[in-house]
């Protein structure tokens, strides 16, 4: 094609870049390094075969992943992408452990946060009951007159029920 420069692959392979060159859309001439890497690891004919087997709308993603893999293999000739996978899997395991620790911590904090015995402030549902509460607190002796303390226990358990703790069996 007159006036059109060959794509990076055809330039490297020293061939004529035709109108329907399969590489041209994905390996523009302004980025020759991209094709050099892919060609070095996978080979031009393998890449061409792989792209031909894919529908056109998936080829761009395929090229991106091939370039990624090729770069990884160049950086690490022994493990390539597998090295990255192994590293990331270790990170995931570590983070999962950290998450488990933090979740256990929040359970402990929640248990500490929920009071077992309601505070006097919580007993005062109605501001008008302040007087009765005052009287109760200053006439605690009336509870001591009962033969057993079972009513005291019952009362405290009933107060627990107000707050949703079902301690009365």
């Amino acid at each position: 094609m007159a006036g059109t420069s060959p794509c990076a692959s055809c330039k490297l392979l020293r061939r004529r870049c035709t109108k329907d060159c399969i590489f041209a859309p994905y390996f523009p001439s302004d980025d020759p390094h991209k094709f050099v890497i892919v060609h070095k690891v996978f080979g031009a004919s393998n890449v061409s075969k792989m792209l031909q087997e894919l529908p056109a709308h998936q080829r761009a993603d395929a090229v991106s992943s091939l370039v990624y893999e090729a770069n990884a293999r160049m950086r690490d000739p022994v493990y390539g992408c597998v090295g990255a996978i192994s590293y990331l899997q270790n990170q995931v395991s570590e983070l999962q452990m950290q998450l488990a620790v933090v979740q256990a911590e929040i359970l402990c904090t929640q248990m500490q946060h929920e009071p077992m015995v309601p505070t006097p402030q919580q007993i005062m549902d109605d501001p008008d009951d302040q007087k009765s509460y005052f009287l109760q607190n200053n006439n605690l002796g009336q509870y001591l007159s009962f033969p057993s303390s079972s009513n005291v226990i019952h009362d405290s358990l009933q107060r627990e029920n107000i707050f949703g703790h079902d301690m009365v069996s």
Binding site: M50, A62, E69, C81, L88, Q91, L99, H113
Partner: protein
């Protein structure tokens, strides 16, 4: 004269060539597993595999061959993304876990702050009740210990 391997390796069998004694691929692509070489050859090509292995010291070649087979099989399974899909998923899991840890740490900090606030409020209430008790004692003109004895005698004649 280079002698040949009595049994050709999977690579030489696939490529229909003689398998020399010093065949680079033979140790890693035994004839017992022809699919392994077929898979790697489909993605990388025999020439590239040989070049890549030759550039590595011998003690690292087995690991390299294994990782190439792993990558090739993932690419055969997923021709668009290959092993990059797994990398992407792992990165996503990492972000999720980090976010969850941050969120949980935030919740812990919030609970602790609430606890501290409740404790402060409780201290104020206790302080106020104490002051009321003291005022009553002063009004009655008795100390708290004398009041207790008085109560006892009232309820226990």
């Amino acid at each position: 004269m280079i002698s040949n391997n009595p049994t050709r390796c999977a690579a030489c069998r696939f490529l229909r060539r003689r398998c020399p004694q010093d065949c680079v691929l033979a140790p890693y692509f035994p004839s017992s597993n022809p699919e392994r070489f077929a898979c790697v050859h489909k993605i990388f090509g025999a020439g590239n595999i040989t070049k890549m292995l030759e550039q590595l010291p011998v003690h690292l070649r087995e690991a390299a061959a294994d990782s190439m087979f792993y990558e090739a099989s993932l690419r055969v399974e997923d021709p668009v993304y290959g092993c990059v899909r797994i990398i992407s998923q792992l990165q996503h899991h990492i972000l999720e876990a980090q976010s969850e840890i941050l969120k949980t740490n935030g919740q812990i900090a919030s609970y602790i702050a609430q606890q501290q606030l409740q404790q402060q409020q409780q201290n104020v209430v206790d302080g106020a009740s104490y002051q009321q008790d003291m005022q009553i004692s002063e009004y009655l003109g008795v100390g708290s210990d004398v009041q207790t004895l008085a109560n006892d005698s009232y309820f226990h004649p």
